[in-house]
Symmetry: C2
Subunit: 287 residues, 2 copies
């Protein structure tokens, strides 16, 4: 089974937890809509890649549970971020956002439900490192440093920019690298920088794409940062400057991989991801 | 230390998890506003009462963690229920609701954060039955039977009334009785009916209070069920009929208490709660 198929299987099981099918139909459908078909599943794949790098060939049950939890938390944040009171985005991944398709109440509830399902999945599917993985996921989502706090900076008159970016985007990448190590019994101590650099790279790539791509290519409304008066790297550094910083963050990420059995293959994976992250014509434009 | 003080101490610790104080100020303040001062803390007290009834004199660390988690999940549901897309309630517990005071984005995020903090609290503070308690809390909140699903029935054209009431109100009461037993190593098998009857009683009492009390006495807008076209027991059975059903649910609750060391004292507690639940002048009106 491919990694994608394994992640999907865990997500499918998380959404219908094996009980009698008496879920309100719209909520059930909204959960499917929010999770399938997914984006690139970057965070769960990162988690699994770190787990395999730490302990090649080891049982990945805990890592797969963590991978599914990461994706559920990510999808929850996307559904809530798209709400009218935040980004007011009518599209996501090339289709209607959840509140457009199912209404705002169902969108709020679907996000809430996915947060709970993330922790339920860990309790049901992570046989060994359940407590440790729960704490990693909670760090990445709760205040003071998780994605809830990151989003909340947008409601402040004065934004702590570093805290904003670290908690809004990097937090779930840090959770992915930490969880990967923790889920195979390795120490997560050295893995935080990789998550932070990849989070930075992803934020920079997202700012770039938001600034230069069309809504068709993005699968969601373009120029959302500008429209929502949010701090964007392109505004501060320009397209070329942002691209240089993206390259720098990718290099730093690759260099930060701790020494372990799979250091080299993980570095190669990071460079491959970097190409995927950057719009092709952009690379030509600034090259 | 009183039970109230113990619950408050656990909740205080959950809201500022001992880390550097770099939480966005509005989110931090909104979390305090949502949790303190509390309502009657009915669910956490029920959990602790069941734990003590099962195993008098036993260490209550796991039960207190569960109690705090229950209250955080309850407060999260209140903050989200008050949002404009649900009840659009401008008051709660006699003061401005969270979205009125801090804005809608912070209200959404505060609810999300409290859900995560509930599971984090279990991971940090429940030394023994962490996994079991996590599953109890997830059952009570996630689809298909938790409060997210209960609320979602309101978006359906045809409401499954039994599923609606069971999941919207009874679910957290069932979680309270189950968690009480589980947290001291007892079986939760016999404790579900007590939670269900108390949940019913609470829903009936709430419908009664909503129909007959003023906003000042309620501490929130009155006649919300009618205004939001929601099914209400008073609409179906009248004030007197609803009151009779409330009495019946309380009796059934007291009768359902499984045989354990503290059966008698728990029954007395339930009857005492029943008096508190019913508005005094109403008892006189229908007596």
């Amino acid at each position: 089974m491919t990694v994608d198929a394994q992640i999907s299987a865990y997500l499918e099981q998380a959404l219908c937890t094996g009980k009698a099918d008496n879920c309100p139909p719209k909520l059930k459908s909204a959960l499917q809509h929010a999770v399938f078909p997914g984006g690139a599943r970057v965070r769960p794949k990162l988690c699994l890649a770190v787990a395999s790098a730490c302990e090649p060939g080891v049982d990945l049950s805990d890592a797969l549970a963590a991978a599914a939890a990461l994706e559920l938390l990510h999808c929850a944040s996307l559904v809530h971020d798209d709400l009218p009171c935040f980004d007011d985005a009518d599209q996501r991944r090339g289709k209607a956002s959840v509140h457009i398709r199912y209404g705002e109440p169902i969108a709020v509830l679907a996000g809430d439900a996915m947060i709970v399902l993330a922790f339920q999945t860990l309790a049901l599917k992570a046989p060994t490192y359940f407590r440790e993985l729960t704490l990693v996921m909670a760090d990445a989502t709760a205040p003071p440093n998780g994605i809830c706090a990151g989003q909340a900076w947008e409601s402040e008159a004065e934004i702590d920019l570093e805290a904003y970016h670290n908690s809004k985007t990097a937090a779930l990448f840090v959770a992915a690298t930490r969880a990967g190590a923790v889920s195979v019994g390795a120490s997560d101590a050295g893995w935080r920088p990789l998550g932070e650099y990849l989070g930075q790279a992803y934020q920079l790539a997202d700012d770039l794409r938001d600034a230069v791509l069309s809504p068709e290519d993005l699968g969601k409304p373009a120029k959302q940062d500008t429209r929502n008066c949010r701090p964007s790297a392109v505004e501060s550094y320009g397209v070329s400057g942002t691209y240089q910083r993206l390259r720098g963050a990718i290099e730093a990420a690759a260099d930060s991989v701790p020494l372990c059995a799979g250091t080299e293959s993980l570095r190669q994976l990071i460079h491959a991801q970097a190409v995927r992250l950057t719009p092709e014509h952009l690379v030509q434009d600034v090259a």
